[in-house]
Symmetry: C2
Subunit: 300 residues, 2 copies
């Protein structure tokens, strides 16, 4: 077995770029770290566009809609359109609309933030919960009587919910006890890396429901096949001519590999070079480089 | 293999009672259902006391202290003392004090209600979190900077917390990332049966932490051995002369069996007769009867 190819020269960059027409990018840890743009990312993205490559930004962040997420790019000086962004909230909305053909008279019970609400609304899907201030309260004695399965709810969709509480968990659980209720998650990341620390990720919002309902959600985020199917259906790329760029082996790189894409691993995020060179490494990328900006730097 | 023995006659009751000196009772589903006392429970408990049997009430409910729990008995017309009650919050406090010998200068970060706080206080253990109103709020941007491992916290203890939120989960997770921080749970019941429905149980409060920290808590509730050790240390009963009475096979009956106690299963709660007579039944009690009150009814 040959190890992953480290790209360190102009010739290697040119050869790498010649293999792919379309690039899927993870964002945090690849383009930026928190609120800081990584070196020569802007120049690299411009260079790829000039060479006629198509850029698609794939994120598990469900708290922001695609439209809201463009503002994050814009703030850091990168111009992208909402159509170039594929977030897990949008992925869930597309899955419900196109794959499940979710009935127009049914509602989705959302555990999550406005990103999910905006994407469901953009696909014309009805929802309850989410950021509804009426549910941001303690459970009351009468709730134990009043929370019953709601026949108008056809799906529980959980994402990162910074306003999670026992009331919302109870409503979701009682509805999940109806076997016909769909159970989706925007993603099941166990942690949410921010401020140099690991906070609870979207997976921690559905973990209580998984335990108590004995059901597993369909995840619409990386590395799930469902997300890849949604991205492919929208962008119609050729897998062998497409490269997934990411900093996490268990989500980004596995996502690319499972979809039959090429993979480029960068060392500016969660995983390290020793993770892929270890003898028992589970996920090994096809290519890797120190940082995404190396593409620009090595070519110039 | 002989199946479980159903007790249906006066002789069988007398033979059963002659085998045991001490009785451990689960409460909900055995003594009462919600707020309704089951038939002839009061008479049965009186009868057992008259015969010189010792009664111990073992509950996974951590939201109430032993003292608060006596009020529940009293309201239903049963007189018990706090010393006869062994709750999972008390179990956790005893475990910290006696088994771990938790340092006096360290604090426990509590995810749970006043029952845990009262039991920790009764053992002289310092704590933070719990019902502190300062933590009943949304996470704020500055919290991502300010939440750091607190060297004064030596343990995260999670129970059923009806006021769980993202802020408390974040504080617990960041402290659990320090390997020296103990991780305890009053119990890990996946559901909390009430009002004829299954609401999220104490296990759903620690499930997010288990997922994100990749750590498993030591559970101090049924069916854990740690709880049995605490009960035994306090009451010094002879296992073979002690009977665990319960309505749940996976907690109560397993708890009794694992501890080498006799077991009496009653049909007034979660599990049914067909659960124990099924060919693939995992947990089979030694004895069973329709309801606890049968002891009184059959003897009279």
């Amino acid at each position: 077995m040959t190890g992953p190819a480290k790209i360190t020269s102009k010739t290697e960059v040119e050869e790498f770029l010649s293999k792919y027409d379309d690039f899927l990018f993870d964002c945090d840890g690849v383009l930026w770290q928190g609120d800081v743009l990584l070196p020569h990312v802007k120049e690299t993205l411009n260079l790829l566009r000039e060479k006629g490559k198509r850029l698609i930004f794939v994120t598990n962040n469900s708290t922001k809609s695609r439209k809201a997420y463009t503002k994050k790019f814009s703030k850091l000086g990168i111009e992208v359109t909402p159509e170039e962004i594929f977030g897990s909230a949008y992925s869930a909305a597309v899955y419900l609309k196109k794959v499940v053909k979710f009935p127009a008279d049914k509602k989705v019970l959302v555990l999550g933030e406005s990103g999910i609400e905006e994407e469901l609304a953009s696909e014309g899907i009805q929802f309850v919960g989410g950021t509804d201030p009426a549910l941001r309260r303690d459970i009351q004695p009468e709730d134990y009587d009043e929370i019953v399965p709601d026949p108008s709810i056809g799906c529980v969709l959980s994402g990162l919910d910074l306003h999670i509480n026992y009331l919302k968990l109870s409503m979701a659980l009682i509805n999940l006890q109806v076997p016909e209720t769909l159970f989706l998650a925007t993603n099941i990341d166990s942690t949410y890396p921010t401020h140099g620390k690991l906070f609870p990720g979207a997976g921690t919002i559905c973990a209580p429901l998984v335990l108590a309902s004995k059901r597993q959600p369909i995840s619409l985020g990386k590395p799930s096949k469902a997300m890849m199917d949604c991205v492919k259906a929208k962008f119609e790329f050729v897998p062998a001519r497409t490269c997934m760029v990411g900093d996490r082996l268990d989500t980004d790189i596995r996502f690319g590999q499972d979809g039959g894409l090429g993979t480029l691993f960068v060392l500016t995020g969660v995983n390290t070079e020793s993770d892929i060179l270890a003898e028992n490494a589970e996920t090994v990328p096809k290519h890797y480089m120190t940082k995404l900006g190396d593409i620009f730097e090595l070519l110039n």
